[in-house]
Every structure is written in structure tokens, then in C-alpha cells.
């Protein structure tokens, strides 16, 4: 059933902008992205918006719908009260480019600082053997579609722009956790996690977990275990004494790789 909806869409650029109101028809089953496309086709052809797969797989169409970080392609119109205007604005944590498109290059820069995967030697028979139960928890992290909604909602950088220099954000804690818990990886990234990625600045309010469209338990499964590893490595007096005596890092799961420190 078609119905008429009122959309308030933020239009503007780095120099400023405002909400513009559009009256537009919404058909059965439509998502917010469909309505935005209809505005583009019929009323505002230069309305800027990013999208690709339209199925919640690529993480391109991130925006704030009624103030909540959402994928527009996975937000059904019938979840809103009839007659209420729906506001759509770009992710606020990143600088605006135009309309619903924001400059997410922050995330691509952070990605560059993470040392690559470095596998240990192969099995004697030349294969790589890993068991499903060992890869399950890392596969959860690999579900990340890089929509950056967790980055958008994280108040460490949402409310304090200067923190962006010293804080990687939930997306990259997920990435770091995926590498740290990868059964084959040998790189040691604990110093990075503690210092340049700034994991200590996260005070586990779980906002990131709440907005993750892939339902990754970012706080519980990625951030907290990383925090624990940092604590064990840097603030555990026994580990400290062990390092002093042996000159070796104590990270147990990465022990074989940490000898270079």
C-alpha cells in the first residue's frame, strides 16, 4: 500500500546546511534508501548519497535516521509511526562532504596503521590446519562490513574531535581482535593497541555493539579481551617482573612471536 511520508533530509556541505522537507510516496516494503532514491529521481536529482548492494552487505549507506546510526537499506519504512516526519542526516562524527555523504577517510587512515597478518610456519605436511571451534570467534569479527556506524556512535571521537589522533575506534578494535585471535597470526600488536590505538579511552558503554548491523558483540568479544591483554602485559606485576628477568614479553598466546621485543 502506498502512503505519503514526510522526509526531512539534511542538505549541505562542509560550509553548513539544513534539513529540507520532501513529501514523497512510500510503497509497501520500502526501506529508507528507497525513499531517498525516489526523492533523487523525482525532486532533487543532485541529492548526494552513497549506496551499493542495497542488502546490508557492503556498509555504504550509513546515515543517522531520526538521530540513530543506521544502514538506510536495512531500515524499513513501516517501523516508523505513521504521519511522523522522518529525519535523515549524514554520520556526524565525520566531516560532511555533501548531503548524506561524509568524509570517512579517517577510517582508511587508521586501517593503514595496523600491521598486516603474519602467519606462522605451515604444518609438516604443508597444510594449514585450523579447527572450526578455533576460527568461530574470529569469523564473528570478519562479519564486519565497515559501515563505520560503530565509529559514528562512539562518543570518544563523536564528541571530541581531537581524540581522533590517538584513538582507532571500535571498528579497528574488532580488526585488531581478529588479528590477535587468529590461530595463525604471529605479529605482536599490544603496544599499538595500548598506545596509538588508545584502547584505554574506551569506557565500554556498548554503544558500538548496539548499532552494529552485523550484531558483532564488539564490546564483549573484541574490546574487553583486548583490554585484558593490555592489562596482563603492562600492569600485571608478575608479568612485569617476568619481562625484567627474561627480556621477553609475556603475552601467552602470542609468546612465540613476541621474542623480538
Amino acid at each position: 500500500m502506498a502512503s505519503q511520508v514526510t522526509m526531512r533530509v539534511w542538505r549541505g556541505d562542509a560550509s553548513g546546511g539544513d534539513f529540507c522537507t520532501f513529501e514523497v510516496a512510500s510503497d509497501e516494503g520500502m526501506v529508507v534508501l528507497d525513499v531517498i532514491h525516489r526523492i533523487q529521481e523525482t525532486q532533487a536529482p543532485d541529492l548526494a548519497v552513497r549506496w551499493n548492494c542495497k542488502a546490508g552487505r557492503c556498509g555504504s549507506c550509513s546515515a543517522e535516521v531520526n538521530g540513530k546510526p543506521r544502514l538506510m537499506c536495512m531500515t524499513r519504512m513501516n517501523t516508523f509511526a505513521e504521519g511522523e516526519p522522518i529525519t535523515v542526516s549524514p554520520m556526524r562524527t565525520f566531516p560532511p562532504i555533501k548531503d548524506l555523504v561524509s568524509d570517512v577517510s579517517f577510517n582508511y587512515e587508521k586501517a593503514k596503521m595496523i600491521p598486516a597478518f603474519k602467519p606462522r610456519a605451515r604444518e609438516a605436511d604443508g597444510t594449514r590446519r585450523m579447527f572450526q571451534e578455533d576460527v568461530d570467534r574470529v569469523q564473528e569479527f570478519h562479519k564486519c562490513i565497515e559501515c563505520f556506524l560503530c565509529q559514528d556512535v562512539c562518543h570518544v571521537i563523536r564528541d571530541h574531535d581531537r581524540n581522533k589522533r590517538s584513538f582507532a575506534g571500535p571498528r579497528f578494535f574488532v580488526r585488531l581482535a581478529a588479528l590477535e585471535m587468529h590461530p595463525l597470526d604471529t605479529n605482536n600488536r599490544l603496544e599499538l593497541i595500548k598506545a596509538r590505538a588508545g584502547i584505554g579511552m574506551c569506557n565500554i558503554t556498548k554503544c558500538c555493539t548496539e548499532v552494529c548491523p552485523e550484531q558483532i558483540k564488539i564490546t564483549d568479544n573484541a574490546i574487553i579481551p583486548l583490554k585484558e591483554r593490555v592489562v596482563t602485559e603492562y600492569y600485571d606485576p608478575l608479568a612485569w617482573a617476568w619481562r625484567k628477568l627474561t627480556g621477553r614479553a609475556s603475552g601467552m598466546e602470542k609468546g612465540d612471536a613476541a621474542t623480538h621485543s
Binding site: N52, D99, D185
Partner: protein, 608 residues
């Protein structure tokens, strides 16, 4: 030069970047090509229309076909080669099919070296799943999000390789120095400013043209850019009539029509049923596949565990299944919203479905309010893939234009008349790697940096700005929507001479209308302008598809003519080749397929 006097020097200004190898497109093939070119020491630039990591490769669900033999040790490259050739109705380039089958396992294992985590067998090796047209469970996978794992692995591996990445940048024209390629011009989507790349070699990895069709699994990016760029630069296209309609796209609600439902649903035990609850695929087994296809439900169901049994007809190649669904719906035996039922709910436990098909579970729950663990899905054909595209040399991925290479969906030959599921991701890896390798080698052999043609740059810049000055008032989005209707209705799953001729006339009218397309606003991130520019390529490539479809007066694979319903032995021996002649006219010729060595031809016969 027809430079518009109203344009200022400032309007036409461009920035310049120089490299050895320019890769256009950053899906699986583009990323793999860039990694390889860079590893060969070439200064490599990677250009993509979207943000990095968003290309359509992320939508690949089921897996990567590679005869690793982890689940069925009987599997090997020869069986994979046979399956690929038969799936393609033997129109494939045999050498590409051979290279692909031989090299896919190494390319998959390489992803594991770079951090990919595939689902595992009990022995700790890469698990493989069943898919349409594959004799053995062959697809390395991660649940139903294999493409995401692949693109992220490649992306993260590429980050540390010193590749210059240019995101949200669209290439509009290739530049040449005499016969050889020398660069490319395009625009930044964000600012609308022009950018010129001076390069020795170009690898096209731009994917297909699904956006020319109304019901499609493809995103806005799939506008045939690389096919158009190659044609205009003097390369040849082949097999353009071969369009794959994936049998299972969502059909309801209307706004999600076309979104892909992975073949893994059937690979993992799901079955197709009509409104009467009948497993209708048993009625659509063609003679070509009869000997290897089960004819009872009992045998079909046993095949999943026992490969001495014959394969379920639910997993016939995609062209067969798409036509069957189309026929059931036409005969009035469809589901309420014009599809058929895809049922895994009654055949596998809920926990198994959620574990094996998490994205499908989520997609139907969120977008259609359907719980696939309790309710059958409604599905129907959706435009998915182009077997046709740029003609390349099998070993090197080189086109006939010196310095111009193509890999992945934009290239043609490997899949013949129909692609098997899972063979696309392996195609991207195998031929992406080869294209990167041979492009770097070609660049090394260039004594100098080829010259770029200033007149061509200025002309191209003027052409790109022209839509801002049109007074005709045509809306580019409406023209696009009319193109989608035209291709869907007249050049779709079932074709006839009359409708194809109508389509050509309509394409001509759309070209005229595009000249009157008016773009509002300025150059800054303006999707209406981008659409107007993409339409030029889409119309050219759509014409190539339609002309080829008209010429192939038979039915084969992804090309079905209701006026010529049978396969014709003559057309079994030829590719249709599309070129631009000296006058700018599109010409078509029939050319014989390369002859297959006897030892490979033998593999095609017999059981397996």
C-alpha cells in the same frame, strides 16, 4: 576540437598522476591484479567508483570453486574443467577454462596465507560445499558471506603494498599513443574535478552491466564501464548475448525485488517447489544433463551424502533453473508474488540453517518479515552476471590493444554461454593475478612513458560537462528507468527477433533523449550528472548485447530465443565478435572458437 566557448580554462583543469599499471575497478579482480602488479615492482594505481571494499564482490555469497579435494578426494582440475565447459555449453575458451581449473586451488590457499578464515572440515582443512553444475562439493566458503571475506582479505593485504588507491573516482575514457594505451581521464565523484592518469598499462576490472536491467542483483556501479572503455579504445567484445539470470532473487516486497538469494540454499539442501508443492525441476532436465541428473526425489536427496548417486535437478546450471522457474510462473503455477518457493525450512534443522546461511536468514527476516527456518522463500530470476565482455588472450588477459588488459566479469571467454556458481570468485583471483602479472611485465618492456593526447583530454572534458548545458529537460533517471524496462522486457530471459528489433529502435530513441538530458546543480558530488555520464556507456553496451542476441539465431546457455528454441551446431562453433569500425559503427562478425586439444576434449565425455 569542438570546445564549448562558454567553458573556461578553470572548468577544464585536471590533475595528473603517473604510474606503470593503472587498475580500473577494485573488486576481487582489480585488487588481485593490483597486488600482483605491485609485487612485480610496477608503480600501481588502483581506481574505484566507490569506497574501497564496497565493490560487488562483497555480494558473492556461496563460495569460491576450486578443486582442492578436501571433501571429495576424487575431485581434481580435470573434473572442474569438465564441469565448467559443460556448464558453459562448450562455448567457453578451453584454455581459460583449463588455466582456471588448474590455478584456482593455489589462489584460494594464497588467501589463507593472507589471513582469510574459511569454514573448516573436521580435519581442520578448508570445507567445501555443493553448488549447481559442480560434480563434487567444491566451493571454499565462509557461511554465505564468502565474497566479503575475499574482498576484505585482499583489501587488507593490499593496504601494505604501496599501491596508490583513488577512491570514488570514475574513469570515462582511455587515452592512446598511436595504437597503444597511454592513460585515462575521469573525474572525482566528490568534487567533479577531472583527473588524468599517465600509464604504460591499464587493467580493466570493472565488472558487468547489470544496471541496464530492471530486476537485477547488481548495484549502481554495474554500468558496463570497462566494456565501453575497451570497445571505444579498439578492443573486441565477444559473447555479449550471454546474460546470466540467477534463478533465485527475492521477489517480494517489490522494493527488494532482484536481491540475490544464494545458490547455497540449494547447495545445502533447499529445494524448489511450485504452488502445488511439486518439485518441478524434475520436469526440466535437458538431454544434455540427463545422464548425470537424478530422476527421483530419493536419488536427488541421497546425492548430498553419496556422490555415486546423480545430482539433484535443483542444482542444474543456472540458465536451466532460471528458465524452468520462468516457465512455471508463466504456466500459472507460481507463488503469490510471481515467483516459486525455495524451501529449506522443511528439509534442514533451524540451527543448521542459521549457521550455514546467516545472511539469508537476516536478509529475509529484515526485509520481508519471513523466517526462512520455518517458511519457504519466494524467489524468481534476477539479472546477475555477464558471461560476455572484453575478448582477451587466455594466458595473459591481454586485449588486442597493446597495454590494455582485462580480468574478471568484464572479460569474456572463461564461462562460455553460462557461468557456474562459484566460478566467478575463482575467475577474479586466477585472471586478476595473471592480468596484474602480464600488465607489469608489459610495462617493464616499455622503453618510455607513452605520450598522452591533449586534444583527447580536452574533448573528453568538454563531453563530460555537456549535460550541464543541455536545455532539453530530459531527466537522466527517467532515461535509465526506461532503459531498464527496455532491456528487461525485450532483451530478457526469453528473446525473439521482433522484440530484439524493437529494443534496437528503443535504444536509438534513448540515445537521442540522452542528448537532451539536463543535469541540475553543480559538479560537486552530483549523482544526476554521474547517471547521465554512465548512461552513455550503458546504451552502447546494451546495443552490443541486443545486436549479438539478434544475430545468434539459436538457444544456448544465457541466450534463449523462443523463435529458435534449439541449439544449432553451427553456433556451437562460433563466438560473435563486436568491434567499432573506422567510421565509429558497431560491427559484428562470427569467428570460430579456438580448437581444443584432443586430450582435453576427451575429458568432456564420459561420466567424470
Amino acid at each position: 576540437m569542438t570546445q564549448d566557448s562558454r567553458l573556461t580554462t578553470e572548468d577544464l583543469k585536471y590533475e595528473t598522476h603517473e604510474c606503470d599499471v593503472l587498475v580500473v575497478g577494485a573488486g576481487g579482480a582489480g585488487l588481485r591484479a593490483a597486488i600482483e602488479a605491485s609485487a612485480q615492482g610496477a608503480r600501481t594505481a588502483l581506481v574505484c567508483k566507490s569506497l574501497l571494499g564496497k565493490a560487488h564482490t562483497v555480494m558473492a555469497e556461496g563460495g569460491i570453486a576450486a578443486a582442492l579435494g578436501n571433501v571429495w578426494p576424487e575431485d581434481n582440475w580435470k573434473v572442474h574443467f569438465r564441469d565448467t565447459m559443460r556448464g558453459g555449453k562448450l562455448l567457453n575458451n578451453w584454455r581459460m577454462a583449463q588455466i582456471h581449473a588448474q590455478e584456482a586451488p593455489a589462489r584460494v590457499l594464497e588467501l589463507e596465507e593472507w589471513g582469510a578464515l574459511f569454514d573448516r572440515t573436521k580435519e581442520g582443512l578448508i570445507l567445501q560445499r555443493d553448488f549447481g553444475g559442480h560434480r563434487y562439493a567444491r566451493l571454499a566458503h565462509v557461511g554465505d558471506r564468502t565474497g566479503l571475506e575475499m574482498i576484505r582479505t585482499l583489501q587488507q593485504h593490499a593496504v601494505h603494498k604501496g599501491i596508490d588507491v583513488y577512491m570514488e573516482c570514475t574513469i570515462q575514457r582511455l587515452l592512446k599513443d598511436g595504437e597503444r594505451v597511454s592513460g585515462a581521464i575521469g573525474y572525482w565523484r566528490e568534487t567533479g574535478r577531472f583527473v588524468v592518469f599517465k600509464t604504460k598499462a591499464v587493467v580493466l576490472a570493472t565488472g558487468g552491466i547489470g544496471k541496464a536491467f530492471k530486476i537485477t542483483s547488481n548495484s549502481w556501479e554495474y554500468t558496463g564501464d570497462g566494456i565501453g572503455l575497451a570497445l571505444e579504445a579498439g578492443a573486441e567484445l565477444i559473447d555479449m548475448e550471454m546474460v546470466q539470470f540467477h534463478p533465485t532473487g527475492m521477489v517480494w516486497p517489490p522494493s527488494v525485488r532482484g536481491i540475490l538469494v544464494t545458490e547455497s540454499v540449494r547447495g545445502d539442501g533447499g529445494t524448489l517447489k511450485n504452488a502445488a508443492g511439486e518439485r518441478f525441476m524434475f520436469n526440466y532436465v535437458p538431454d544434455f544433463f540427463r545422464a548425470e541428473t537424478a530422476d527421483t526425489e530419493a536419488e536427488a536427496d541421497a546425492w548430498y551424502e553419496d556422490k555415486t548417486k546423480r545430482r539433484t535437478p535443483d542444482l542444474l546450471p543456472r540458465d536451466e533453473v532460471a528458465r524452468a522457474i520462468n516457465a512455471e510462473v508463466k504456466a500459472g503455477r507460481g507463488s503469490p508474488h510471481g515467483g516459486v518457493f525455495l524451501d529449506i525450512a522443511s528439509r534442514r534443522p533451524a540451527e543448521y540453517i542459521r549457521k550455514r546461511l546467516p545472511s539469508m536468514y537476516h536478509q529475509f527476516k529484515e526485509l520481508a518479515d519471513v523466517d526462512i527456518t520455518t517458511t519457504p522463500m519466494e524467489v524468481g530470476p534476477t539479472c546477475h552476471y555477464f558471461m560476455g565482455g572484453v575478448r582477451v588472450a587466455a594466458d595473459t588477459a591481454a586485449t588486442r590493444v597493446p597495454g590494455l588488459f582485462a580480468a574478471g566479469e568484464v572479460a569474456a571467454g572463461l564461462h562460455g554461454a553460462n557461468r557456474l556458481g562459484g566460478n566467478s570468485l575463482s575467475d577474479l583471483l586466477v585472471f586478476g593475478q595473471r592480468a596484474g602479472h602480464y600488465a607489469a611485465e608489459y610495462a617493464r618492456g616499455c622503453a618510455d612513458q607513452p605520450a598522452i593526447d591533449q586534444a583527447a583530454i580536452d574533448q573528453s572534458a568538454c563531453d563530460m560537462l555537456a549535460p550541464f548545458d543541455q536545455q532539453g529537460g530530459e531527466n537522466p533517471y527517467t532515461i535509465h528507468s526506461d532503459l531498464e524496462d527496455c532491456m528487461h522486457n525485450l532483451v530478457g530471459i526469453i528473446r525473439t527477433q521482433t522484440e530484439l528489433e524493437q529494443a534496437l529502435q528503443e535504444l536509438d530513441r534513448l540515445k537521442q533523449r540522452l542528448l537532451r538530458a539536463r543535469v541540475e546543480g553543480n559538479r560537486y558530488f552530483n549523482p544526476g550528472w554521474h547517471m547521465a555520464l554512465d548512461m552513455q556507456t550503458m546504451l552502447t553496451v546494451s546495443e552490443a548485447i541486443t545486436r549479438s542476441a539478434l544475430l545468434r539465431t539459436e538457444s544456448r546457455g544465457g541466450h534463449t530465443r523462443s523463435d529458435f528454441p534449439d541449439s544449432d551446431p553451427h553456433f556451437a562453433q562460433v563466438n560473435l565478435v563486436v568491434r567499432r569500425d573506422g567510421q565509429g559503427q558497431m560491427t559484428l562478425t562470427e569467428e570460430p572458437l579456438p580448437a581444443m586439444p584432443a586430450e582435453l576434449a576427451e575429458l568432456l565425455e564420459g561420466g567424470h
